[in-house]
Symmetry: C2
Subunit: 352 residues, 2 copies
C-alpha cells in the first residue's frame, strides 16, 4: 500500500473567489479580472456573463490580493491631529467623498498633536502600501519626512502653508495671515487696543502662527497688543476663563479688540461677557476663527474668519487623483503647481 503523502490543509479564506466567478461565467479568471478593471476591454457577451455571475454569487473582490499583485493598494492614508476638531472633520468628510469617487478608500489616523504618535501612524500606514498619504501641517519629525520621501508616493500636506517646503504637495492657507486679518479687522472697527486669546499654542503650531500674525499686524498698526495664552485646549469653557482673567486686569481702552484662536474660545467670551453684563461689541469686540456652525446664529452673531475646510479636502483629493494618473506631476521642478492656497474670508457679524 502506497504511503499517503501528507496533504497540506488548504486554509479556506474567501467564500467566492474570482475563479468561482470565472467558472460560473464560462470564461477564464483573467477575463474576469480584466472586466473588473477595464470593462471596455471585454466583449459585451463576456462582460454580461461575468456581471451575471458576480451578482449571482454575490462576489466581493479581494482588494488585499489585488493590491499585492498590482503593487497599488487604492487606500489613501489620512493623518489629522484630531477628528474631534470640527475643522478637520469637515476636511476629512470632503476627502472621503472625493476619494471615494475615484474608488480610493481612506485609512484614517489621528495623532493627538503628538509628533511621535504621528511618526508611528505614518509607519503603520505605509505598511498598507497606500497609494498616497495626506498629513496635517508642514511640521513633522525628521524620520517621518524621511519615510515619506522614501515611499515615493504622493504626499499632500494640508491646513498649513508657510516657509517650510512641503514634502511633495500642500493645500492650505497662511495662518499668520489669518491672525493679521483679525487684527486689522478689529482696528478697522475702532479698537485702540488688542488682545489675542489662545489655547494649546505649544502643541498646535497653526494656532501659534495665527497668534504671531495677530501680534505682528497689531504692532505694525501701532496698536498696543498682548497675548493671553493657556496650555489647555481651546474650548468654550477656556474662553470664559480667559475673558474673566482679562476683566480682572481692568482694561481701560474701549472697545478692546479680542482675537480668539478659534470660535469655541470666542463663544466662551460671549457667554462670560453676558454673565457679567459686559456689552459686545461696544465694550469688547470679538472675532473668532473657524466659522463653526453656531457662529452665524449666536447672540450676538460672531464675527469670525472662515477657512475653506471643505475646499482643502477636495483640492487634496484632486491633487492625489491627478498624481496617481500622471506621476510626473509630482516631479520636484513642478513643485509650485502642488502648492494650493485655499485662502480664507473674514465674516463680519455683530460681535465686532
Amino acid at each position: 500500500m502506497a504511503e499517503q503523502r501528507s496533504i497540506r490543509k488548504r486554509r479556506k479564506i474567501q467564500g467566492v473567489t474570482m475563479m468561482d466567478v470565472a467558472r460560473a461565467a464560462g470564461v477564464s479568471p483573467s477575463t474576469v479580472s480584466l472586466f473588473l478593471r477595464r470593462p471596455e476591454a471585454v466583449s459585451a457577451a463576456a462582460g454580461e456573463a461575468v456581471q451575471a455571475a458576480i451578482r449571482q454569487l454575490n462576489y466581493v473582490p479581494n482588494l488585499i490580493a489585488g493590491g499585492l499583485a498590482a503593487a497599488s493598494s487604492r487606500v489613501v492614508g489620512v493623518i489629522v491631529p484630531s477628528v474631534r476638531n470640527a475643522f478637520f472633520a469637515e476636511t476629512v468628510a470632503a476627502l472621503q467623498r472625493d476619494l471615494g469617487r475615484a474608488r480610493l478608500q481612506m485609512l484614517l489616523g489621528h495623532s493627538e498633536y503628538d509628533p511621535q504618535t504621528e511618526e508611528d501612524l505614518v509607519r503603520a500606514t505605509l505598511s498598507w502600501a497606500p497609494a498616497a498619504i495626506v498629513l496635517t501641517g508642514l511640521g513633522h519629525a525628521e524620520a517621518t519626512r524621511a519615510m515619506l520621501k522614501a515611499a515615493a508616493i504622493p504626499v499632500v500636506q494640508i491646513w498649513e502653508l508657510g516657509r517650510t517646503q512641503p514634502i511633495d504637495a500642500a493645500v492650505g492657507f497662511h495662518h499668520d495671515q489669518v491672525g493679521a486679518a483679525a487684527a486689522r479687522h478689529l482696528v478697522a472697527r475702532g479698537c485702540r487696543a488688542l488682545v489675542y486669546l489662545s489655547g494649546r499654542t505649544h502643541q498646535d503650531r497653526r494656532a501659534a502662527q495665527r497668534a504671531a500674525g495677530f501680534l505682528a499686524a497689531a504692532r505694525e498698526l501701532g496698536v498696543p497688543v498682548r497675548h493671553l495664552g493657556h496650555p489647555a485646549p481651546a474650548t468654550v469653557e477656556q474662553g470664559g476663563i480667559l475673558f474673566a482673567q482679562l476683566l480682572a486686569e481692568a482694561p481701560a481702552v474701549q472697545p478692546l479688540g479680542i482675537g480668539c484662536s478659534n470660535d469655541l474660545l470666542a463663544l466662551g467670551v460671549l457667554f462670560e461677557a453676558q454673565r457679567r453684563g459686559r456689552r459686545i461689541p461696544e465694550e469688547f469686540a470679538v472675532i473668532g476663527f473657524g466659522d463653526m456652525g453656531f457662529a452665524a446664529s449666536s447672540n450676538p452673531a460672531l464675527s469670525t474668519i472662515r477657512p475653506a475646510g471643505d475646499l482643502i479636502g477636495s483640492e487634496a483629493a484632486r491633487l492625489i487623483v491627478a498624481r496617481l494618473a500622471t506621476p510626473e506631476l509630482a516631479a520636484p521642478e513642478r513643485r509650485e503647481a502642488g502648492i494650493i492656497d485655499t485662502g480664507f474670508s473674514v465674516m463680519h457679524r455683530q460681535s465686532t
Copy 2:
C-alpha cells in the same frame, strides 16, 4: 549561441523585503516573520539580530502581503453616518485609540445617513478582508445584513439599542429612554406642557426614537405634548427657527418644557430666546442631548442628556479584540453577552 529565454520583468514593489532582513540577520525569512508576530517564540540572539537588521535596513513590513497570507488583515472597518457630527467623532477617536493598542487599524467611512451609501461602503470595506466591522445603528439594508453575516467576522453595531436583534454584537443605549428621561425631567421641573424639537428624523432613526420616547413619556404623565420637526439637519440655526415658530403660536402654559433632539438645536433656542427677551428657564425650560463642549459653559448653562460616546468606542474596541482572540464569543447562544448598554446621564443645569 543559445537563445536567451525571454526573462519576465520582475515588478519591483517593495524596497526592503523580509527576505532582505533575513539575509542581513543571518536567519531564515520564517524566523523574521515569527519574530515579528511572536517575539517570545524566538531566541534572544536571533531576535536581536533581526531587530538590528530591521532597524539598519529601515524595514517596513508589508501588511498587504501579510493579510493575504494570513487571511486576517488587522484593519477594522468603521462606518458612521458622519464624522462632522461631534457624537460620532468622539466614538471614532476612542475606537482608534483602543484598536491601535491592539495593533488594529481603522478604515473609516461615512454614509451620510444613506442606507445605499452604507451598503456600498460595507461592500468596499469587506473587500479589505477586515478583521471586524463597526456599524452605526441597528437599521440596515437587507443586503448589508446578508453580506455581513456571510463575512463571518465580528460585527459591532454602535449607538443604538432596541428591539432589533443585532447582527452580532451591539454597544449603545436606548434612545427612546433618552427622550423619556428628558420629558420626565422637564415635568419634574414644573413644566405643564411639553414640545419636542427635532431635525432630520426621517433619516436619523435614533433622533426619531428620542422623539418617540419623549412623546410617549409625556402622554404617560398626562402632560400635553407635541412634536415640532423639520427635515433639515439639527443645527443651531434650525433651533432658532423652530423656537421662533413655537413663539408665533403663542403658547399659554408657563414654563413650557422644550426637549431638543440635540444640543445644537437647544443652543439655537437659547440664543433666539435671548434675542427675543424670553426668559429661560422661567418661561421656557430647555433640555438638549449630547452634552457637547459648550453645554456646561453656555448662558444659561444647558441642561442636557449625556451619552457615553467615548465609552461606546472603547467598549466596541474591547468586544472586537475579545472576539478576535476567542471567536467562540460570537456564537449565537452567547448573543446576550455582546449587547452592552452604556447608558446616559441627565445633566441638570440652569436651563431647566
